[in-house]
């Protein structure tokens, strides 16, 4: 329960941190004065305020560039700046994606979340609700590093896209569950780029980072689209955003020039008028999907409840309790560091078992909620793919669009606008 230790308890910990005194400290005859250990202060606290200011400024500038000046060149410049600052200079920590976990842990666990982390969590959400995913476009260092290496984007088939697009919800749900139970911060532990930002790390993390970056050369922003748990939230806020980037500055003339402009598959083509027979069949499919939603929720909740023990094993205390129990029963040979650590505390084993049982109970509730949530998400996805909307124009899919501004220059209306002097000319491409 290391993370649950509240600041209030720390006084008690400090008081308890006394030695054994097998050999009493001598009185010195020579007037010797024992030195005292140095306590260098943390170096980060001051710069974290700077981080929040930079974050807010970058979000404001990026939103302005995307919605007003419509300049891909400058968006790219801001993106590289954010990559340099948040990524390579600040080593990618703390980031908005990871802040999801701190917020989960802080709600109802007695973990005092730093205000800076609250700001990192909230600012991009607010900006997304106002202007779309401008955070993803130019501020998030994880998005930036993938965007910077994207050279040969491949088109991902729609069924694959739909299926992989479910993963962020699973990741988000798992991350919130493990953070809220104090088990682990999985987003940080499996962040593929933090080792790249630090230019160091263990072999597995460096290989993972390298592989994701290699994929990112051919698949636009794979982490953002198929893993990012924060993106799973941003998608829906972007859908509701009061303003959002548009492909054309004024009207769509259906020239189809933007059709292949988006490397992230976020441009939706106009749909042909449905044939009459299609419509009744579509209705039946939609009805079936709607009926499936409650079934999926119930099934997911039940499944989540069933897997409470494997889920709970992510928590170190549960693993420790299991190991101690096995060792006591004589079912395993030898000891582990964790079981040794427990025996050193000289606590009764029953106390540890009770603590583990309490945690498994929390995971039972959490697992059911997680399963229900995933059931809902999958159900709504089924509904979503069975609804047929008629579109007459090329439109941005607000959920998928990361507002990178690539498509603007594909639109002939944009060229007209620039000729009229309606905006600054993008620098990078001229």
């Amino acid at each position: 329960m290391r993370t649950l230790l509240t600041i209030g308890l720390l006084g008690a910990v400090a008081a308890a941190a006394a030695g054994v005194e097998r050999f009493p400290t001598p009185d010195f005859d020579t007037g010797y004065e024992p030195p005292s250990p140095t306590r260098p202060q943390p170096r980060r606290t001051a710069i974290e305020v700077v981080d929040v200011v930079v974050l807010a400024a970058a979000l404001a500038v990026a939103s302005w560039l995307i919605l007003r000046t419509r300049s891909r060149g400058w968006v790219f410049v801001v993106m590289l700046g954010a990559l340099a600052y948040f990524g390579f200079y600040r080593k990618g920590c703390v980031c908005s994606i990871g802040a999801v976990q701190n917020v989960s842990l802080s709600l109802g666990n007695g973990y005092a979340i730093p205000l800076v982390v609250v700001a990192f969590f909230l600012l991009p959400l607010v900006f997304t609700l106002l202007f779309g995913r401008t955070f993803c476009a130019a501020v998030c260092p994880l998005g930036a590093i993938q965007d910077a290496v994207l050279l040969r984007p491949l088109r991902i088939p729609a069924p694959v896209e739909h299926a992989l697009g479910m993963l962020p919800y699973v990741y988000l749900g798992a991350a919130v569950l493990f953070a809220a139970t104090g088990a682990a911060f999985v987003i940080c532990q499996y962040d593929p780029f933090v080792s790249v930002f630090r230019l160091s790390g263990n072999r597995a993390m460096l290989i993972l980072g390298g592989c994701v970056l290699l994929i990112a050369v051919f698949v636009g922003r794979p982490y953002c689209r198929y893993l990012c748990p924060y993106g799973a939230v941003l998608r829906h806020l972007s859908r509701l955003s009061s303003r959002h980037a548009t492909i054309t500055p004024d009207e769509c003339i259906q020239c189809r020039l933007c059709e292949d402009a988006c490397p992230f598959g976020a441009i939706r083509a106009p749909t042909p008028e449905p044939v009459h027979g299609d419509r009744s069949r579509g209705k039946a499919v939609l009805g079936l999907a709607l009926l499936l939603v409650p079934v999926l929720i119930a099934g997911g909740a039940g499944l989540g409840w069933l897997v409470r023990r494997p889920l709970a094993r992510v928590h170190p205390t549960v693993r420790q309790a299991e190991r101690v129990r096995l060792e006591k029963a004589g079912l395993v040979e030898g000891t582990t560091d964790a079981s040794d650590a427990f025996r050193q505390t000289e606590r009764p084993a029953e106390e540890l078992y009770a603590e583990a049982r309490g945690l498994i109970d929390r995971f039972a509730i959490g697992g059911a909620v997680l399963g229900g949530f995933l059931g809902l998400v999958f159900g709504l996805k089924l509904v979503d793919v069975s609804i047929r909307r008629t579109r007459t124009d090329y439109e941005i899919d607000r959920a998928k669009c990361v507002s990178c501004a690539r498509c603007f220059r594909y639109c002939p209306r944009e060229h007209l606008r620039i000729e009229r002097g309606g905006g600054e000319r993008p620098e990078a491409e001229t």
Binding site: R2, L5, I7, L10, G11, V13, A14, A15, A17, A18, G19, V20, E21, R22, F23, T25, P26, F28, D29, T30, P34, P35, R39, P40, Q41, P42, R44, T45, E48, C93, C95, Q101, S106, L107, G110, Y111, A112, I113, P114, L115, V118, L122, L125, L129, F185, C188, V194, R198, H236, L240, S242, P316, Q320, T336, A338, D340, A341, F342, Q344, T345
Partner: protein, 191 residues
């Protein structure tokens, strides 16, 4: 922008979107209020609770820094100033002098200095210490436990999830307020 066109002729979809946006805004406000109410004004940093540490050696290898941010600290007011320091000498040391082959520390980071008859002071050269905790193990097992490991905050980069904390078998890593970032062992209650 497309909502701005027909403010007076609100379609059903736009009405729905406005409502949902309001709800999302309220939800964000709620989460923000919840988080801010429980927020600490200051920052928190990682530290080792020396009472829980079992000197497994993970601190030396799991830190994201090339040389760990964890180093040994000596609480002098607990030290017995022993001639035969269990943190300094190999268990099978031939002689109790400063010769390298007698030293437990793999990097020779502990200095031994004569103070007076039967009393020696042991100091840690932090630039050499790698945080392996070998000396801490010896000192805890047979001595006063005045040597202990601490996260040195001039080195720690304060990862959101400390890699060592994730690997610590005794869950000895705790988040502490940044203005009181050390849990250094003392004889008296310190504030």
């Amino acid at each position: 922008m497309n909502e701005a066109d027909d403010k007076d002729a609100l379609t059903r979809r736009q009405f729905l979107r406005h409502g949902l946006r309001g709800a999302a805004g309220l939800g964000l406000g709620g989460v923000a209020a919840g988080a801010i109410l429980g927020a600490a004004a200051g920052d928190t940093v990682w530290q080792i609770d020396p009472t829980k540490c079992i000197q497994c050696g993970n601190c030396a290898t799991y830190c994201v820094l090339e040389t760990s941010a964890v180093k040994c600290v000596h609480a002098y007011d607990l030290c017995g100033y022993c001639v035969r320091c269990f943190g300094y000498f190999e268990p099978q040391a031939d002689a109790f002098n400063e010769a390298a082959e007698n030293q437990l520390c793999p990097t020779g980071a502990i200095g031994r200095r004569f103070i007076e008859e039967e009393r020696y002071q042991y100091t840690i050269d932090e630039s050499l210490c790698i945080g392996c905790g070998k000396c801490v193990k010896g000192c805890n097992a047979f001595g006063n436990g005045s040597l202990h490991l601490q996260v040195r905050h001039d080195r720690c980069v304060n990862c959101n999830q400390c890699s060592i904390a994730a690997a610590c078998p005794s869950q000895a890593f705790v988040r502490v307020p940044a203005d009181r970032p050390y849990l250094i062992k003392t004889k008296v209650e310190h504030e």
